[in-house]
């Protein structure tokens, strides 16, 4: 396993538009790193550049300090798991797992031992003699993962949305197997996904890609609590962060004409962000004093929490939807008011994080 250092990485398929524009990224040895982004963000391109399947236009990639930028896929000693299971149809499962070992000059008994070891780890030992054709999609992807894990000296294991082809019921099993093995073997893994919940549960750190730029790199909680860009704020969380137009007036942050909290920002418009669980919508007389008037549109029950019913409330603030996850007892008939927690607000100017409390 290796530490990975990416500096100023750039790639374009046509002259007109850069797919990746100056990516800087450092992965420590044994880190599980997720690359998150929508379609067209450049995730797969970044992975192909890391694998050596593509050559970058500019920038360097170092594995443990060694410059590998100009090395091809075979020279870098990386392993990859693809979106759908890629196997050698005419080889049995054991042959598939040991394929890369044989190519690197391993002797047969050593290959057999290692294959048995990896198969044991993923609990697929009973499949070793079978042909890929007779396996389920889930089992095939497990074998593909086993092949990626077979080389003990591999620099990094790359995963390109490995759960896409697997049916939802078995997704979590595969994800857990991956995570367990990553922790057991201290593998450096790069996991590309468009699914933020996959990224948040799998990764030590996440990089959010958007239109070829890395918007933010940090731990899952950093990306959740203090997204550095409005795009990250929107993308992460289900539903994403609420972003409302607001204004700084005389050192006070005002949302919906109501002063919420003192702020160090200069006067002028800004965007205030808050997670659905950082706010409450209340009704009744007591709610009026501190609250921002808001119109409740729908309430979706989400079960109970400590015996109290909770739900996702969708409301309109100045005609824009706001989502709040809260206890439903606070919501009765009558005028509703939005209460924000001044300790947990983030503000944005020009889409960039300006301040965050807490």
């Amino acid at each position: 396993m290796a530490a990975i250092e990416i500096r100023g990485l750039q790639h374009r398929y046509t002259e007109a538009e850069a797919v990746l524009d100056g990516i800087d990224l450092t992965l420590s040895d044994g880190e599980a790193h997720a690359v998150l982004g929508g379609s067209g963000a450049g995730k797969t391109t970044l992975l192909n550049l890391l694998a050596g399947l593509l050559q970058p236009r500019a920038g360097t990639i170092r594995f443990d300090g060694r410059d590998v930028t100009r090395l091809g896929g075979a020279g870098r000693n990386v392993a990859q798991v693809f979106q759908f299971p890629v196997l050698y149809p005419s080889l049995c499962v054991a042959g598939n797992i040991g394929f890369a070992l044989g190519n690197r000059g391993w002797k047969k008994p050593a290959v057999r031992r290692r294959v048995a070891e990896v198969a044991g780890l993923l609990e697929i030992a009973p499949l070793l003699g079978r042909r890929p054709r007779s396996l389920s999609l889930y089992e095939k992807q497990l074998v593909a993962i086993a092949r990626a894990l077979a080389r003990p000296d591999v620099a990094v294991v790359l995963l390109d949305e490995p759960l896409t082809a697997v049916e939802p019921a078995t997704k979590w099993r595969l994800r857990r197997a991956l995570k367990t093995i990553q922790q057991q073997l201290r593998l450096t893994m790069v996991y590309v996904t468009h699914d933020q919940s996959e990224a948040l549960t799998f990764a030590d750190r996440i990089t959010m890609l958007h239109r070829g730029a890395a918007l933010q790199t940090g731990t899952p909680s950093e990306l959740y609590e203090a997204p550095s860009h409005t795009e990250v704020a929107r993308f992460i969380g289900s539903p994403g962060m609420n972003l409302v137009e607001s204004e700084v007036r005389g050192g006070q942050l005002c949302v919906g004409q109501k002063a919420i909290a003192p702020t160090g920002l200069s006067d002028g418009p800004c965007v205030t962000g808050f997670r659905p669980e950082w706010a409450t919508i209340e009704t009744g007389v007591a709610a009026v004093r501190e609250g921002i008037p808001i119109a409740v549109d729908t309430v979706r029950p989400l079960g109970t929490e400590d015996g109290n019913p909770v739900g996702l409330v969708t409301a309109s603030l100045d005609g824009k939807p706001v989502h709040v996850r809260q206890r439903l007892e606070k919501l009765q008939a009558g005028s509703a008011y939005l209460h924000l927690d001044p300790e947990r607000l983030v503000t944005y100017r020009n889409e960039q994080l300006a301040t965050h409390a807490g």
Partner: protein, 286 residues
């Protein structure tokens, strides 16, 4: 629930197949067990014509020639076709140009192919024949059996390799990029990429290609008829040509019918053998 009315729906197909395949075939079988002199004079002879045909040295020779020809044609055209298909660029403007050029031989009528090669290979005025003669090789496909065979094989390879190449190309084009990328990361060499990435995924199209070439080459008639007329001697007389001589030239309807039935069974047997062996080998493989 049983619904016998469903058979009515199948009836049109049964009728069409009966009149195009079963009735003519049974007619041939009927001829093959009789000695026919004229419309009213016919004698039942049992399996005599079959015995006679199987003992006919000309039939045996034609059969051996036929099998040798088909074997050689397959041995050359299948590997060559795959090789050509791999050389065609997978994408870009050149792809279409390659495919069109490859398709041209397939669009030429068979007797025209024979005529083209008959002229092309002539030692006096043909481009190929004259060129070979000019470099000092003795070459004459109308005089030497070996030269006739080489010319016939060349002609068939020229005419039909494209079919294998086009089918193989279609198979190759459907292989996802990720399969090649995985092999690259696994450190596979060029031979392994072919052996483990491409060949297993070409199995289905290659089966079809081999079947088509096997059946067609077993039935070859027009091209050798135009090119060599079965000569020199009988050295390029294949089954279909001998059969035509017998049935149309000499009007030996009984023996020709027995010959036809044997010929039909032979093609059926060879194709069945090939198909079942391929399907059995590939049962747990894909």
């Amino acid at each position: 629930m049983r619904n016998d009315k469903a058979w009515l729906a199948v009836l049109p197909v049964v009728i069409v197949v009966a009149f195009t395949a079963i009735v003519p075939l049974m007619t041939v079988v009927n001829y093959s067990v009789q000695d026919i002199f004229d419309v009213d004079t016919r004698i039942f002879v049992g399996l005599d014509w079959y015995r006679e045909t199987l003992r006919d040295p000309r039939f045996i020779d034609a059969l051996l020639r036929q099998v040798l020809f088909s074997g050689l044609v397959l041995a050359i055209e299948v590997p060559l076709g795959i090789w050509i298909a791999r050389a065609v660029p997978r994408e870009g403007p050149a792809t279409a140009a390659f495919l069109i050029v490859l398709a041209i031989p397939l669009l030429i009528p068979w007797n025209v192919v024979g005529t083209i090669w008959q002229i092309f290979a002539r030692p006096d005025i043909g481009l190929l024949g004259a060129a070979v003669t000019a470099i000092g090789l003795s070459y004459n496909y109308t005089g030497s059996a070996l030269d006739a065979w080489i010319t016939l094989l060349l002609m068939d390879v020229w005419h039909w390799t494209s079919l294998v190449a086009l089918l193989a190309f279609a198979g190759l084009a459907s292989i996802p990029r990720a399969c090649y990328q995985a092999a690259e990361l696994d450190g596979a060499n060029a031979w392994q990429v072919f052996r483990y990435v491409e060949l297993p995924r070409l199995r289905a199209v290659l089966t079809i290609a081999v079947m088509l070439r096997l059946m067609d080459s077993l039935m070859i008639y027009t091209e050798p008829f135009v090119l060599t007329g079965g000569g020199p001697g009988n050295s390029t007389t294949f089954l279909s040509q001998y059969l035509t001589t017998m049935a149309v030239g000499q009007f030996d309807l009984g023996p020709a019918a027995a010959f036809s039935v044997l010929y039909f069974l032979l093609i059926l047997l060879l194709c069945w053998l090939f198909y079942t062996s391929v399907m059995k080998g590939g049962a747990d493989d894909r």
